[in-house]
Symmetry: C2
Subunit: 160 residues, 2 copies
């Protein structure tokens, strides 16, 4: 996978557009967090905002991942396009992007609304009816946490 | 995904056998590492040794992940069974296991051989011919690094 052959430079994805395409096409991201010397990992559905170069996540308002990012907002995450194991070849077909950035809770109603748009546009094949159903009132935002991950650096790899 | 609804207890997988089945069936794991306050994530093919309750990974002998685990062997990883996004439902079908443990380089030739067996048995549909091809001599072990992740704790979630 991503770092399976991290020393093999010919596998690196260098184009920003190709990396952004991976972020646009993915449905979930796995995020590594770090508190003192304690690592933690979560996997979350997301939407990619290419203008902000940020990922949005829907989240509870309390929980272990929020404790981690409050103590240390620095995260490192990955999105993987899984093409499956290549039988008999000791190889896995994949493309992956790894990114570094900071993650925080979104505070304003305006940005929460924007984040839901980004999420639903990415996840749903037909966003319009889902939006119509969910956004009947602003109450949905009262209990929903939204996290934004601002990407500062990224790299990618592919195999086979 | 795994922690998307971490507060929803009805989604928790509590049976050790069900969690072990996820580890036996997966082809790759995503591993979070932590050095001082710096997070890092890698995704690697693996084999699960249920007797040792450990994962084995093939690795280069140098690289960023080795620097990380030399400084801090504590890791947190995940294996995800991806059933795909459920269109129109704001839901992703998945099962995932999250585990905590320590990761280190395997030193002895004997354990390296064992690890390759575990890896190939997990990854390959027909392990025998692949083993016959790879294990013609012990030279393969000179340049190949093997990492072992001893699992100390694990939990799981599933959705839909």
């Amino acid at each position: 996978m991503a770092q399976y052959h991290m020393n093999k430079r010919e596998r690196e994805i260098t184009g920003k557009e190709e990396l952004q395409a991976l972020l646009r096409e993915g449905k979930f991201a796995t995020i590594a967090m770090c508190r003192n010397s304690e690592p933690y990992v979560v996997t979350l559905s997301y939407g990619y905002d290419s203008g902000k170069h940020a990922l949005y996540f829907h989240s509870a308002l309390e929980g272990l991942k929020l404790d981690f990012i409050r103590e240390n907002p620095r995260v490192c995450g990955t999105v993987i396009q899984d093409g499956g194991y290549v039988t008999g070849q000791c190889e896995h077909r994949y493309a992956s992007v790894v990114f570094w950035g900071e993650m925080q809770l979104v505070e304003t109603l305006e940005e929460k609304k924007h984040a839901f748009e980004v999420l639903i546009d990415q996840l749903e094949a037909e966003p319009a009816p889902v939006k119509a159903r969910i956004f009947k009132s602003d109450k949905v935002y009262d209990t929903a946490g939204i996290l934004r991950l601002d990407i500062m650096e990224m790299t990618g790899k592919k195999g086979k």
